[in-house]
């Protein structure tokens, strides 16, 4: 299950963010009439189509797997949070319909209608992302029901949907998608720009992707900060694990690095910035931060894993922010961004970082929830299906997903490698070959 989600998340992110990039490029084309923008939009659409399709089927798998693996959880949670999935279903429907129009309708509808179809794809992709993340937030901060004799009663699906975690997790996830995809696309074009400097196709593509990626990367630490405060309020133990706060403490420091030592129940090799954590969470250097030792040990998540994943996410997020600041400086100093080889190289290096950070953040939030599947109510082990021999389908799906991931990466490499040869700057003749 975790694996399917981890796999799906990448495709969902691409499906959320790529339409925005394509729409920007197409809109620029309508505005300026320069063919190069249209070429960029079409190339991106062709590449993204693979991600959309695989994302669609892996999403279908997920809707089944929820029941196949966690039947008891689904029977329990269905009435409360199922509404979110129904909304998601319709958003997904809209996305699929207009995606069909977008991918196949270049010659069939007017340019404005085509652009509008792209916008619908972008918006519905974001909506379905938001709803799913809110449903996930509900597992962290369950709301909208009361337990009467172990049975959820007084159900309020709207309150469940608008749970405190979900509301802040959603923008964090969207920004993550935009930043990760923006950086990934920009990275690929940066790589090709290093090989073929002054290629207008790659320059245009790089500019759009980097702009989206950088703006999101600059906003992301802010959203992360809001989210951390919310976690501190509603799930203090989880935050303590994130931040490596073992004991409750006033004037807590912000800790960098560290390896969890489960025998001594403390972190080794930690670098501390005094008072920083208290200042971040409470805007007061003497604010009190709860440590996770205040909570019963059987409710602890795997501490080393959660903490490491969280650290990697924060580290990458900050690196991406600095890259974005670098880009901003270059733009403000009115330098030609494409002249700076060092910047382009850094962007190439950053290609996979956003996805890596998202996967880490996802591990942190989901493993950080363990041993619960619905925090405070249902434990993961209680919800799993009674069917024996579960290893067989799990191993099989692992193999299947590895295979699909391998194929997608390979197809993308072909896609990238095909660019310069087929793309002499005469898009008109080449475009017919693409559609």
């Amino acid at each position: 299950m975790a694996m399917s989600l981890g796999f799906h998340i990448i495709f969902a992110m691409v499906s959320m963010a790529m339409p925005l990039l394509m729409v920007i490029a197409e809109w620029q084309w309508l505005k300026t009439g320069q063919e190069v923008y249209l070429t960029v939009a079409k190339r991106w659409a062709k590449g993204a189509a693979i991600f959309f399709a695989v994302g669609a089927v892996s999403g279908t798998v997920l809707s089944f797997q929820l029941g196949l693996l966690w039947p008891a959880f689904m029977a329990w949670a269905g009435p409360i949070i199922g509404l979110a999935f129904s909304i998601e279903g319709f958003a997904f429907f809209t996305e699929a319909i207009f995606l069909g129009i977008y991918l196949y309708g270049w010659q069939k509808v007017s340019p404005n209608a085509h652009l509008a179809a792209g916008m619908v794809v972008a918006v519905s992709g974001i909506i379905s992302g938001v709803v799913v993340v809110m449903a996930n937030g509900w597992m962290n901060t369950p709301r909208g029901f009361t337990l009467v004799d172990g049975i959820p009663s007084n159900i309020d699906p709207i309150a469940a949907l608008l749970n405190p975690s979900g509301l802040l997790q959603a923008p964090h996830m969207i920004l993550a998608a935009f930043a990760a995809v923006g950086f990934a696309v920009a990275g690929i074009h940066a790589f090709l720009l290093l090989r073929h400097p002054d290629h207008p196709f790659h320059q245009t593509a790089f500019t759009i992707a980097a702009a989206v990626g950088c703006i999101s990367a600059l906003l992301q630490p802010l959203s992360g900060d809001f989210l951390a405060k919310r976690v501190a309020e509603f799930q203090p133990m989880k935050l303590a694990v994130f931040e490596g706060q073992v004991h409750t403490q006033k004037g807590a420091p912000f800790r960098l690095g560290g390896i969890w030592n489960s025998d001594k129940e403390m972190f080794d090799y930690v670098l501390e910035i005094p008072y920083a954590l208290s200042l971040m969470l409470h805007l007061d250097p003497q604010g009190e931060v709860q440590g996770f030792k205040d909570f019963p040990k059987e409710h602890w998540p795997p501490i080393g894993l959660v903490r490491t994943a969280f650290q990697i996410m924060v580290f990458i997020g900050i690196s991406m922010m600095f890259l974005a600041l670098w880009a901003t400086c270059l733009v403000f100093m009115k330098k030609n961004i494409f002249q700076s080889k060092a910047f382009l190289k850094a962007m190439v290096f950053a290609t996979p970082l956003g996805f890596l950070a998202t996967e880490c953040g996802w591990v942190a939030t989901e493993v950080g929830r363990q041993p619960w599947i619905v925090v405070g109510y249902v434990k993961t082990a209680e919800a799993v299906t009674p069917m024996p021999g579960l290893n067989i389908p799990l191993v099989f799906f692992a193999g299947l997903y590895t295979f699909l991931a391998f194929i997608v990466v390979w197809l993308m490499l072909r896609h990238v490698a095909a660019t310069p040869g087929q793309f002499e700057m005469n898009p008109r003749t080449n475009l017919t070959a693409l559609t």
Partner: protein, 346 residues
């Protein structure tokens, strides 16, 4: 006034009807892809690829909708079905993944080489397996009597679907989908030699579907005794059986006389009648004899929100679908004989 549970059950049945009419034909097209032979093999493949390209993703979302309605409105039934039918459901999911991925890898790739043949084969093979499993699953749900506390692995996870009735339902689904696809494909092309090929196939498939339908009906008296007693012994049951036979015969006749638009209409009506007859026989059971739409349903407030969400969703969905089909399928739906459009080079 219809109650909330029935409204949602109807929504389930409507979604299933659309799924069979649209995605079913998608699967069927995949089957014909596998069976394509002769000198026009490449043209047949091309026609199939072109026909399903813009709409296949939207077609398959119906399934997601079915699953989400079931999960939200009837969670107990959803949980029970996913436990007992774990194995065929998992296999179905694998089939769907491979099919979609193979199609995407084949058609959205930037270069063209021999590997595409392999993707095509995978696509076609998965198209064959998935509807078979889908039929098995529906058959097993119809038969019901899921074990509550199974004593062995076989009893708990295999015995319910490894039965003559569900397996026959699987075959029926396969043939039905192939039949639908053949009838649709005739109207997707202007090339009369291709039309002739699919005309012959549609006739064969229609006759096979008719015969298999009888076999399923016969097996159902044993295998799904809870529901099918009503069907055979009542007036409306007799009318429905008569109706499906009439539509089959009419469709074959129109195929012989090359009235393709009418043949397709009859095929669609036949499918709708079959599904709704099944739904009516099933009512009010979800999984007989324990789970009905009342005993398995969520609390009323969830159902209310669900109905609202479905109404709002439908208001967005149907105009969008209409728009999609108007753009890509106007000619074939109305059966217009325009000058053939220049096929895009792939």
């Amino acid at each position: 006034m219809i109650d909330l549970e029935t409204t949602l059950a109807i929504a389930l049945l409507v979604s299933l009807t659309f799924y069979v009419l649209m995605a079913g034909a998608d699967f069927g097209a995949g089957i014909w892809h596998l069976l394509a032979h002769g000198p026009s093999r490449r043209d047949q493949h091309h026609l199939i690829g072109e026909a399903i390209g813009p709409i296949w993703e939207a077609n398959h979302v119906w399934l997601i909708l079915i699953v989400t309605i079931l999960f939200t409105a009837f969670p107990t039934a959803y949980a029970q079905i996913s436990v007992t039918l774990h194995i065929p459901l998992t296999l179905l999911v694998i089939g769907i993944v491979l099919r979609g991925s193979a199609y995407a890898f084949r058609h959205y790739d930037i270069r063209h080489d021999e590997l595409h043949v392999r993707w095509d084969q995978l696509f076609a093979l998965a198209s064959l397996i998935s509807p078979f499993l889908l039929g098995i699953i529906i058959g097993a749900i119809t038969a019901g009597s899921f074990p509550i506390s199974p004593e062995s692995f076989f009893e708990g996870y295999l015995s319910n679907w490894l039965q003559p009735f569900p397996l026959a339902m699987g075959l029926l689904a396969l043939v039905f989908f192939a039949y639908l696809a053949a009838v649709y494909l005739i109207l997707e092309t202007q090339d009369s030699s291709l039309q002739e090929i699919f005309r012959k196939r549609a006739i064969t498939a229609a006759i096979c579907a008719g015969l298999l339908g009888e076999i399923v009906f016969f097996l159902g008296q044993e295998g799904a005794s809870y529901l099918w007693g009503d069907m055979t012994n009542s007036l409306w049951g007799g009318l429905i059986i008569f109706g499906t036979v009439v539509f089959t015969v009419a469709s074959v006749r129109f195929l012989f006389t090359r009235h393709y638009w009418w043949a397709r209409t009859c095929a669609i009506l036949q499918v709708i009648l079959t599904i709704w007859a099944w739904g009516l026989a099933q009512f009010p059971y979800l999984v007989p004899p324990y789970l009905t739409i009342y005993s398995a349903s969520s609390p009323a407030i969830t159902l209310q929100f669900m109905v609202i969400a479905l109404i709002v969703g439908a208001c967005l969905l149907f105009p969008s679908l209409y728009y999609l089909f108007r753009i890509f399928k106007e000619d074939s739906i109305l059966g217009l004989k325009h000058a053939p459009k220049k096929p895009a080079d792939t």
